[in-house]
Amino acid sequence: MSEMWINMGPQHPMTHGLWNLRVRIDGEVILDVDPEMGYLHRGIEKISEDRHYNEVITLMDRTCYVAGLSWEHLYILASEQALHIQPPERAQYLRVLCEEFQRIASHLMWYAAFVQDIGLMTPFLYGMRDRDLILDLFQSYTGARMTYEYMRVGGVRNDLPPGFTDQARKVLDWLGPRFDEYDRLCLGSDIFHKRCDNLGVLKANDCVRHGVTGPMLRSAGLRRDLRKDRPYAVYDQLDFEVARADTADVTGRYLVRMEEMRQSIRILRQVLDWLDHHPGPVLAHELPRWLGAPYAPVGREGYLLKRHYPKGVGFSSIEEPHGEAQAYVVNEGGEHPYRVKFRSPVFANVSAARQYLIGYRVADIPPIMGSVDVCVGEVDR
């Protein structure tokens, strides 16, 4: 067989979304790749310029549909900085609760899709089953299973329902042993090691050069986690470790994500304990009236806002399940953000695809791209 280009995508089981990986192959060996994005571009940054600060939150859930609360947190942190608002402490703990649960849910989704990529069908269902428990928890306090719209500029929408923390602990108790089960299904299998060891290797300096972050970077041996390096919310008061591996391959990324889930459980237990003992308000009192959640934003239909609020620029950067996400919010004093810019970790991770795909085989593309954990909604925004 001579060289040829094949289109993996936009409708392809490997892509986990809507994107196109153009691959030049010789037989089964990959000679060149060219990721083609944009099939899911919805212009979230543009729409945000036309919306009130709180209304942008509805878009954040759709930015990354498997890690909606993390993106809400990201945006909220940036816009609070831009608007000079300080949320109450309990709200910050609730946000950490959201983010860590979301991290487990997102990693479980990753696990399910990843094992499907290497041909394991059973753990896919296990991952989805256990993720559903977390979605149940999300539903019980945010009111939705996928598009949460829970956080607000200045806090969160509501407090936890009674009995939530006990229920959450039960879920955590259930999840811990499941992770060992997942490990037995994957790491305990010789075929898994044959498939995934020394695959998609991206060394640490290449990761840094190409802007790769998150579990991919940590699997290359760099201990870099924004929750430790640049603590936001209340992460500096929580005790956890940064997962890390040295192999820089698919197995390493698997190990890092599994360990991250275990560490998330550890964080969540601390957060739940704190929440049990520290009741308080969850929404800041000092809010401009057009930000107060129960009130209509004016300006939609001819109500011009005649008041001016201090300008500001907000930047936030959180350790999203996929890596390092950043938001840049420019507040020019109006009721809409002047410019919102998001940095998606997957965007950078996919842009480096040439570095970790060339030279492997066609059959290796699904595990490698699966270990990158591509969330197309985040890349295209």
Binding site: T147, L185, G188, H193, H285
Partner: protein
């Protein structure tokens, strides 16, 4: 740099090539032989009392969300009787899926308007029910909306009222108001006392009070107006801004009351 320690290694290495995964799968097989975790949706429902009561996580058994299911944001319920036609739900909707339509019950001059929701556009964010000052627009736990016609997705106020009367569990979350909320202020020199604000105020919190007619100074012409000015009762005001929109002279504005 924060101190970190290495995660402890776990002993999950392969035994006999594939023995571990096969044993794990067999264990799950034995567990789910009689009762897999599936909740068979059309026949069993997550909101059923049997799943509400059973909260323990057990192998092979479903995990219900329990009584907190009530927080779910589903189809809206509208209590037409208490709706004050303040428009706040329509203003707060990010998807512009709420339209205020006339319902019977108002007087001819000021028709009563209630929200009509297009569920083809709705994103169930709950901003409208958060914004509703009277608590008449709430979200219920109903989530089954499939319909063969697109026009069926538009729920008229009457249909929303039917949802309300079906006594579904309501989303119990109510938001507290900020303490320093802005009030509607008056720029007195501009006011002509036309009564438009008081007439259209949904909560009737605006009263037109007489203001003394000043003595006309020599050479100065008094403005032609009714010598009344609106006084707004802040505790009753729901901050809907209707008065601002109807004011012909733009003399009402948002501000902090001293």
């Amino acid at each position: 740099m924060a101190e970190v320690s290495e995660p402890e290694p776990r002993n999950e290495n392969p035994v006999l090539w594939v023995a571990r995964p096969m044993a794990t799968a067999a264990r799950q097989f034995a567990k789910s032989l009689f009762r897999p975790s599936t909740i068979v949706y059309p026949y069993e429902r997550l909101e059923d009392p049997r799943f509400r009561d059973r909260l323990e996580v057990a192998s092979g058994k479903p995990f219900g969300v329990g009584h907190v299911w009530d927080n779910y944001r589903g189809v809206h319920a509208l209590n037409i009787a208490t709706c004050i036609s303040c428009n706040l739900c329509a203003f707060s909707c990010p998807d512009i899926c709420i339209e205020m339509v006339t319902v019977p019950g108002g007087d001819p001059k000021h028709p009563k308007k209630c929200p009509e929701i297009d569920y083809g556009k709705c994103s169930y964010c709950g901003f409208c029910s958060d914004a509703c000052p009277e608590g008449c627009l709430t979200m219920t736990t109903r989530y089954e909306l499939s319909t063969p016609k697109r026009s069926d997705m538009v729920y008229s106020p009457q249909k929303l009222y039917d949802v309300f009367r079906s006594k579904l569990p309501m989303n119990p979350i109510r938001l507290a108001r900020p303490e320093n909320e802005d009030a509607i202020l008056l720029d007195p020199p501009l006011c002509i006392g036309c009564n438009a604000c008081a007439r259209d105020c949904p909560t009737e919190c605006i009263t037109m009070l007489d203001v003394p007619k000043p003595e006309a100074k020599p050479g100065e012409k008094l403005p032609k107006r009714i010598w009344k000015e609106p006084v707004i009762n802040d505790s009753d005001c729901v901050r809907c801004g209707t008065c601002i929109s109807v004011c012909p002279k733009e003399c009402l504005f948002w501000g902090t009351r001293k």
